[in-house]
């Protein structure tokens, strides 16, 4: 047992199947984790990376089980433990952090109780002792006034704070192994960096190992020592980060790296200087109605956008960047008049959108299309793809069904879907295919403006890069202006002519991509650039982390490998 004893986690030749369908989720996967080491498990959605993490502590969902192989954690095999022993393993040796900080804390229980549950159950601490320990831990994850925080409920904290609370809960009992399943994917760039730094720092402090599940290769490069790459349940590569990611040797990893958004769009046609802008946004304010404390007290509205002034030129791509709550989605919605401004106006083709109604509004709306973040909920599950896309066609085109079919088929072909998709239902398509359908639906109306609200952020990297290329190609062909809302700076850089930065509802920066990303003037933009973790090619076949030089005047990025 001497060699195996040194390993904290030893997973050898493990296969996991879903018993109902006999589907193989993991196929003969082996990895190991040393004490105090950071090991990343990386892969696209459906690769089985979360399943591997959960299998490690025997926490597989119902109907899913390990069919072959051996898992060992701190010298014991979870598979051989009874319920009580398994709970004790989870409560003493391991800790786990989840992706969604919003849903990983019980909304009806004070934070303190959730934190101390472990210590009281498994370490036999009294309430006072456990509270004391929790307060100390909260201080270390930088929650202000920890004693008071313990009595508060999860909804009183922001997303980043909740993830830090989760981190505190998972580390409170000083586990030997922390499993983090996409811990920062749902967070803003700056918060993501903070949480990652904090997590690795704390893990080092208490000497725990970290098993980091992620889809983000930049995170892997920045924080992990070794990495396992999974694809469709199989381990395609495994080893030190330098060998696997930075100098890729496997074709699959190379494909993943090639899909990273890199490069900058050349500033497009400067010829349109004389053409009037397609959208004129003047002093735009958007508010959401607040609640009155008492029926007669004044209503306190929440301001989402504050006097934003901006023009969008015909045919250009404008990236809107900002953290959650900065007002970028409100801007997207008000531009296609899903929202009305509280004051100020949006002018499209000479009309103030808030003033237009009836038939004229319907006509204008056809020229303003939007693609949403989540293609799964943007498509009616009961409508066939033909019906979905045909809805975007002009009503006059719908009279002749054969003609409508032909036009829809042509549109689908443009977004890269063959005719056989016409009669399918949305659930039969993959995420990327669904987003293509959404784009086809938007194109059907021949819009002059296409708003993409985080249209690629829910997609896998390889799918994301194909969709970005598709939007670019279609834009060149059809000449619509594209407003691309994103929190990902690399995506913005890749696709946009100009970048707008929103911060707490205000437009703090606006300029060409080069101006904003290379010579940022606002402190928020600088912080954003400094926090972003990006991986890019540094030499043929070699990749490295790129630090954006926030103050540099030169347009070239400096590179750390």
């Amino acid at each position: 047992m001497s060699a195996a004893l040194a390993k904290l986690v030893n997973i050898s030749d493990v296969s996991v199947v879903a018993s109902g369908q006999g589907r193989v989720i993991l196929d003969n996967v082996s990895i190991d984790v040393d004490a105090g080491e950071v090991v990343a498990i990386v892969g696209e959605s459906g690769s089985g990376k979360s399943t591997l993490a959960r299998a490690t502590i025997g926490l597989l969902p119902r109907g899913v089980h390990v069919s072959a192989g051996r898992i060992e954690v701190a010298g014991v095999e979870p598979a051989l433990l009874d319920e009580r022993e398994l709970r004790s393993l989870r409560g003493r040796t391991t800790g786990m952090v989840f992706q969604e900080p919003m849903s990983a804390l019980n909304p009806t229980m004070p934070v303190g109780q959730q934190l101390t549950e472990v210590c009281r159950t498994h370490l036999g601490m009294s309430r006072g002792e456990a509270d004391e320990r929790a307060a100390t831990m909260l201080e270390r994850v930088r929650i202000r006034d920890p004693k008071a925080a313990l009595r508060r409920y999860p909804h009183e904290f922001s997303g980043g704070m909740r993830q830090r609370l989760m981190l505190a809960a998972a580390l409170l009992h000083q586990p030997k192994l922390l499993i983090a399943d996409e811990p920062t994917t749902a967070l803003d760039v700056i918060v993501q960096r903070e949480v990652l730094e904090l997590m690795t720092e704390l893990v080092r402090e208490i000497g725990a190992a970290l098993m980091l599940v992620t889809h983000d290769l930049a995170v892997v490069a920045a924080y992990a020592q070794r990495v396992a790459v999974l694809d469709a349940g199989r381990r395609v590569d495994w080893g030190p980060v330098a060998d696997v990611v930075l100098n890729p040797r496997e074709a699959h990893v190379e494909r993943l790296l090639a899909a990273l958004p890199t490069g900058r769009r050349g500033n497009m046609q400067k010829t349109g200087a004389t053409a009037p802008p397609v959208l004129e946004i003047e002093q735009l304010c958007v508010t959401y109605p607040g609640r009155r404390k008492l029926p007669w007290s004044p209503r306190v509205d929440r301001v989402a956008l504050q006097s934003v002034t901006l023009n969008v030129d015909a045919g250009e791509t404008l990236a809107v960047v900002g953290e959650s709550g900065s007002g970028k989605s409100s801007l997207a919605r008000v531009l296609v008049r899903l929202l009305r401004p509280a004051s100020g106006c949006v002018k499209f083709a000479g009309h103030d959108l808030a003033q237009v109604r009836g038939a004229k509004l319907r006509e204008l709306r056809r020229e303003l299309q939007i693609v949403f973040q989540d293609p799964a909920s943007a498509l009616d599950p009961r409508m066939s793809i033909f019906e979905v896309v045909a809805e975007g066609l002009a009503p006059s085109a719908l009279g002749d069904r054969a003609e409508a079919r032909r036009r829809v088929a042509a549109l689908l072909l443009e977004v890269g879907l063959e005719e056989r998709f016409l009669e399918m239902l949305p659930h039969q398509l993959s995420g990327g295919q669904r987003q293509r359908v959404c784009i086809a639906r938007a194109l059907a109306a021949q819009p002059r403006v296409l708003v993409a609200d985080e249209a690629v952020s829910a997609l896998d990297l390889s799918v994301q890069s194909r969709i970005l290329a598709l939007i670019e190609r279609l834009q060149l062909k059809h000449g619509f202006a594209c407003i691309f809302v994103t929190h990902n700076l690399a995506v913005a850089e890749r696709i946009a002519d100009r970048v707008v930065v929103l911060y707490r509802g205000e437009l703090v920066e606006c300029g060409t991509t080069a101006e904003v990303l290379d010579r940022p003037s606002h402190p928020y933009t600088r912080a954003l650039l400094a926090a972003s973790l990006e991986l890019g090619p540094i030499a043929p076949g070699k990749y490295g982390l790129r630090a954006r030089a926030a103050h540099a005047a030169t347009p070239t990025d400096s590179i750390i490998s």
Partner: protein, 314 residues
Amino acid sequence: MMLTFILRRVAQGLLTLAIAGTAVFLLIRVIPGDPAQMLVGDVGDPAMVAATRASLGLDRPLPEQWLLFASDLANGDLGTSIMTGQQVREVIMQAFPVTASVVLLATAIAALIGIPAGMWAAWRQGRAADYLLVGITSVLLSVPTFWSGLIVLVIFSVKLGWLPALGYVPLGEDLRAGLIALIMPVGVLVLAELATLARMMRSSTLEVLRLDYITSAQARGVAPWAVLLRHVFRNAFAPTMTTLGLMLGHLLGGVVVIEKIFGLPGIGRLLVDSIVQRDYPIVQGCLLFVAFIFVIVNLIVDLLYAALDPRVRV
């Protein structure tokens, strides 16, 4: 904050009552059939009918009638029965405890069995305990009370002779006899309510069990009973509580079928009998009372919501 919330809900409740009261007032006056004519009987003397109508205040303009109605109501005066001359309030107060004891007892038993059963079935989803619960509740849901009531009556009173078929003894008078008289009606009602509550609880528990914070609790090594009690219950109970509230409000307004079958002098029977006899003041009083019960029960449910879920407290 909490006080504002309570005050707002109470105000909403009062408004609901005012609207319901006006609706009842109008309904009684719109439906065909003249209570004055009924009271006088088949005499055919128009003068006598007119005099009766005047004494009932039915000859005055509608707004005036409404004002009169509202001020009486505010004083707690629901009028007197046309048939017996009894105070409507007293008649209702006699009938309500009968209905309330059956309904409250049955609901409490159904909740105490159904809610844990539903949660347990969800925890064991797809296994024997779950299938058993789903099977039993399906059968219970498809059995109407008029049928199960009669069957129970035939078996336990007629065949076995264990329980009295009819008759009601107030619990305050003779606790033992009173309870014995309640066994069958309460039992039949429990069977009907149990299935709904268990199903409701099962499905909302299933929804909560899927959430990250449950997995998170399990990843912390929390025992199943503690997961169910501490983490699941408060989050999954809300839909069941709404159902429970609607159920209680509905049933407290009278369990007509059960009251009829087992000969209980409850609100449901009172209402049906008064409708047949066109005893409008009683019908009106009963309807108002039912509305009142509904508003009270739902007010309590709303306040409990806030107690269960800190996010509701605005």
